[in-house]
Structure formats: C-alpha cells, structure tokens
C-alpha cells in the first residue's frame, strides 16, 4: 500500500477514535462545566457501558442487531441510574467541594473496577457488530460499522448541542453553569439539575462505550485510556466549552490514529501527555477557551 492510502486508513481509524472520544469527553466536560466536579470515575462509567453491552447482547441472543439495539438503549440507562445514585449518596453530601469530590470519585473508580473484575472477570470479551457490511474503497475495504459509529456520534453531538442551546432544559443547565446561586434564587432546582447532569455525563460515556465495543472488546480495565484522553480533550478544548471539546476530540483522535500508526504508541502517549500538561501549565483556559472568572 502506498503512503496516501495508508494515511487515509490512519485518518479513518483516527476519526472513529475521535467520534467515541468526543462523546466521552463531552460527558466529562458537561459535569465539570455545570457542577465544577472533576469526575475521575468517568472512565469506569465508560467501562460499565461496554461490560453491560456484552451482558445484554449475550442475554438476548438471536440476531446481533437486536441485542446491540437493546444494549444501546438499556446499558446507558443502567449506567445513568448508577451515576444518579452515586451523586445522591456521595457527591451531594460533600457539597460538591472540588477536592473532596475528586477523592470520592477515585473511591468510586476503585469500587466499580473491582466489582467489574469480581463479577465480569479479567477476560476481554467481544460483542458482535449489528451488521458486517464492508465498504469497498479503491485501495482497501473498510468496515461499514466503523463509519456508522462516526455518523451516530456526530448525530448525538448535534442533538446534545441542540438540547443545550435550543430547549428549556438546556437553558436551565446553562443558567446553573453560569451562576448556580442566582439560578437557585430564580427557582431553578439546582440540586436536581446537578443530579441530571451527572447522570447524563455518565450516559454519554456509556453510549460511546456501546458504540465502540463491537470494534474493541469489553474489558474491566478499558476505562483508563478514555479517562486520560478525555481529560486531555477537555483541557485542550477549554474546561466546560462544548465546541472546543469537539474540535479537540477530532484533533486528538486524528493525531493519535496517525502518530500511533507510524510511531511507537507509548512514545505517542508520552509526547501527548507532556504537551497537554504544558498547555495546562502555560495556558490554563485551554487552547480554545477564554479566561474565566
């Protein structure tokens, strides 16, 4: 294969990563933007989505598309419910103090990971894709499912953006993000908004995981890389900015796909992490964000 098609393949793989990353990072960004909570357990909600997708498709059986669609609906709902319970029982009682919530979400990370290991086991298990149509390009065949992941993610991102900017729920969320005390004074149930946002953030991660699990398998440690990458995306995009998050996800996903096709993945990770840390040190508002407060 020549360099051009090779690059196209790397770019396509990178776009699939970007699509999933954008959804996951959007969840993290919403939670941070509205609640000012850094959710370290976010990657575990992602992992939980993938593991539940495996459990649901196995339980339903039959045609793979049937199980997959069921997983796409049920897994995020279960993950959202778990997140909501965690928010009610723990985060709310901490008054969303930034440092205490980080420690608490680290605790959640360990609990969820250990429970997944105990009940699901250390194996990586595959989920069959709902369809296995291959699109033939002049140079190579490419999985139609992977392209549909990109499309599905784009649709979800647009839907989230519409909800945030065009509906009353979005208005309430933005008001809470802007100034929670004033929002409270205007009769917005800030506590319920926080609960909803935390659940929504976890559900976005779970949806991303269900989409990716037919491509990469479900494993109890699979939440770590998405967590770190989401942090990177959210930081580069500017904490709490939706547009920046999407742009940064495409940027990171593409460069990750291309760099790791031509260089050692560990080296790529070292360079990316170091660069992001430097961005955070020298430009804390992110590359696209504006200085806040």
């Amino acid at each position: 294969m020549h360099f051009g098609p090779h690059l196209l393949l790397a770019a396509l793989e990178g776009l699939v990563t970007s699509a999933v990353l954008a959804l996951t990072a959007l969840g993290l960004s919403l939670v941070f933007g509205v609640m000012r909570v850094v959710n370290v357990a976010h990657g575990e909600f992602f992992m939980l989505g993938a593991v539940l997708a495996w459990a649901i498709t196995t339980a339903i059986g039959g045609h793979p598309a049937l199980g997959f669609l069921a997983a796409l609906v049920i897994a995020p709902l279960i993950v959202g419910a778990i997140a909501l319970i965690a928010e009610r029982l723990v985060l709310r009682r901490l008054n969303y103090n930034p440092e205490a919530t980080i420690v608490a979400t680290i605790g959640m990370l360990y609990i969820i990971q250990q429970l997944a290991l105990t009940f699901y086991g250390p194996e990586a298990r595959p989920v069959e894709p709902p369809f296995s149509y291959r699109i033939l390009l002049p140079w190579f065949g490419y999985s139609g499912y992977k392209l549909s992941v990109i499309a599905a993610s784009a649709l979800l991102l647009i839907a989230t953006w519409l909800v945030l900017t065009r509906t009353k729920i979005g208005l309430i969320m933005r008001a809470t993000q802007y100034d929670s005390e004033t929002a409270q004074a205007f009769g917005i149930p800030v506590g319920r908004v926080y609960g909803g946002v935390f659940a929504l953030g976890a559900m976005l991660a779970a949806i991303a995981a269900v989409l990716i699990v037919p491509i990469s398998q479900a494993h109890y440690l699979m939440g770590q890389d998405p967590l770190l990458l989401s942090f990177i995306v959210v930081i580069i995009g500017g904490l709490g900015s939706l547009r920046g998050t999407v742009v940064a996800a495409v940027l990171i996903g593409l460069s990750d796909g291309i760099i790791s096709m031509f260089f050692s993945p560990t080296l790529a990770k070292i360079i990316a992490t170091l660069l992001v840390a430097m961005v955070l040190v020298f430009r804390p508002q992110g590359l696209f964000g504006t200085a806040s407060r």
């Binding site: 605790g107 609990i111 955070l280 040190v281």
Partner: protein, 320 residues
C-alpha cells in the same frame, strides 16, 4: 498546634519511636517484615502529608517522586554498580531535581488544574519507565541482587537483607524523617506553609514570598518521598514500574486522609491502619481495591479529618 507543650509533643514522638523499637523484638516474623515495609511507606506518606496536609496542595502525582528515588537508587546499584550509600544519595538527588522541575512548572497552576497537571507528569514518568525498558526492565521491573545490598563501614558490614538490620534501617529512616517533620512544623517555615494553606492572598499581603515557600515545600516533600523509594529499593530489593503508577499516587493520599492530614503521626497511623484492614479482610476476599474505594468515600464523607485529626479536635488540642 498550640505553643504550650513542646515537651509533651517530643515525648509522644520519642515514645512512638521507642515502641516501634521494642516491637522489633516482640513481633512474629511475618508482622516483623510487614512493619518494616509499613515504616518505609509511612515515610512516603509523611512526604505527601508535608504538601497535602500543611500547604493544602493536593497532588495526584507523588508516585513519580517515590519512583525517582526507587529507580534512582535501583539503577545506580544495578546498572552502575554503585555502593549502597552512593545509590541512596543518587535516589535522593533524583527526587530533589525532579521535584524542583515539577514544582517550578506545576505551581503555576492552582486547584483542580494542579491535581491534573501533577497526575499527567506522573503518567509521563510512568510511561517513560515502560518506554526505556532496556534499562528499567519495563513492567517486569528489576531485582536488586543480594550481594549488592550490603553496607560496609571500614571493617564491619551490614547485610540489608537480614530482617533485623532491615527493620532497624527502616526505623532509623522513619525516626529521622518523623523528627524532621516535627521540627519543620514547629519552625517559622512550617508556620508560613500553614498560613498559605489557610489564606494565600493574606500571606502574600503580609510580605511572604508564597511561591518560593511552596516550591521549597514541594522539593522537601518530593525528596522525602524519594528517600522512601530509595530505601524501598535497597531494603526490599525490588524496583518495579507499578510503584510509579497512578495507584501509588492515590495510596499516600488515602493513608494521610485516614491517619489525619496535617498531623505528624497521622501518616504512620493511616498506613498502619490500612495495612491492618487489608490484612484482616484478605482472609475473606481478594478484592482489596474495593476496600480502598469504600474507605476513601467513607473518609471524605464522615471523617474528613482522619483518625488523629478527629482525636486532636475532640480531646488532645496539643497534638502536633
């Protein structure tokens, strides 16, 4: 933190050290080895406490300082064939230099950004260990051979693999760092750090250079953690990348929170208690991460001051 009773405080600390000394002769073999390990890790926790407890900076990357000591000493002894004291010094030096660089960079950020920046630098350190597997042994780690772990002074030689020597070396390091912490806390420097924790703007207004005080705290904290790492490599003979992973950045936070942040003996109490809990529960379940997770959540929910912090608040106001 009252002025009233320096004598009481010193008596308590010397008493604790004496107790640990006596325990060396009373404990059965298994607990004897475990306590030596706990004392070394309590030094790590004390280094963490210096920054988290007294300056109020929550770092999620202290595993890199422990790792710097561990690999600094380990590589010096394995790859360069240095003697034990030289390797220990190399470990300390690596920790001091690394913490100076990290401090200069990370202290430009505050709050949540500081936590994420420290976590990312630690991740880079961890990945670098894996990347340079030709020297570091990658995720397999390295074993420090027994003949290299012998300390010679003139004619006498001390074998660090001998349980009693190992215990006493761990105790010596622990006592030294504990008394140093007590002295720092009672010094002018320690008081400035607490002032920064309580209100940085006001401290600045009073004419203190808060940045250089914080930087000094990061370097002291990082060097203490490196001392713990270097001692771990020399006393227990294993240098592994898992000690530089995120988990080893979280564990000292857990130990310090459990024992009581900003108490001098808290790190020891927390480390001891956590090992005790894991030891007891490992009889029933292998899921020790579950216990770590639950402990973290219960602590921040109900005992944000930790064991010694709660005791100080309720009964013993003079506890340093």
């Amino acid at each position: 933190m009252s002025e009233a009773s320096p004598a009481k405080a010193y008596a308590l600390h010397l008493g604790a050290i004496a107790l640990l000394f006596v325990l060396s002769f009373l404990l059965p073999e298994y607990y004897h080895g475990l306590l030596a390990r706990i004392m070394v890790l309590a030094v790590f926790a004390m280094g963490y406490n210096m920054l988290f407890g007294y300056v109020g900076l929550l770092s999620l990357g202290h595993a890199m300082f422990f790792g710097a000591g561990l690999y600094g000493a380990g590589l010096a002894i394995i790859q360069l064939g240095w003697s034990v004291p030289a390797a220990f010094t190399a470990g300390l030096g690596c920790g001091a230099v690394l913490s100076l660089i990290i401090g200069l960079l990370a202290l430009r950020s505050t709050g949540v950004a500081f936590m994420i920046v420290t976590m990312m630098f630690a991740q880079v350190f961890y990945l670098a260990i894996l990347y340079f597997a030709a020297w570091t042994g990658g995720d397999q780690g390295m074993v420090v051979p027994q003949p290299a772990r012998v300390l010679t002074f003139g004619g006498t030689s001390l074998d660090l693999t001998n349980p009693t020597v190992r215990y006493m070396s761990a105790l010596a390091l622990f006592s030294l760092v504990l008394l140093m912490m007590l002295a720092i806390v009672r010094s002018r420097f320690g008081r400035v750090l607490v002032a920064i924790r309580e209100n940085e703007e006001r401290t600045k207004m009073l004419g203190y250079d808060t940045f250089s005080n914080k930087l000094a705290a990061v370097v002291v904290s990082g060097t203490i953690c490196a001392a713990s790492g270097a001692a771990y490599a020399l006393l227990f003979g294993y240098v592994g990348s898992s000690f530089a992973s995120v988990q080893y950045s979280i564990l000292p936070l857990l130990w310090v929170l459990l024992g009581g942040a900003a108490t001098t003996l808290g790190p020891l109490v927390g480390t001891l208690f956590m090992y005790y809990v894991i030891d007891v529960t490992s009889g029933y379940t292998s899921a020790y991460l579950l216990i770590v997770g639950i402990a973290l959540i219960l602590l921040v929910l109900f005992f944000p001051r930790g064991i010694l912090g709660s005791i100080r608040q309720r009964w013993l106001g003079w506890l340093p």
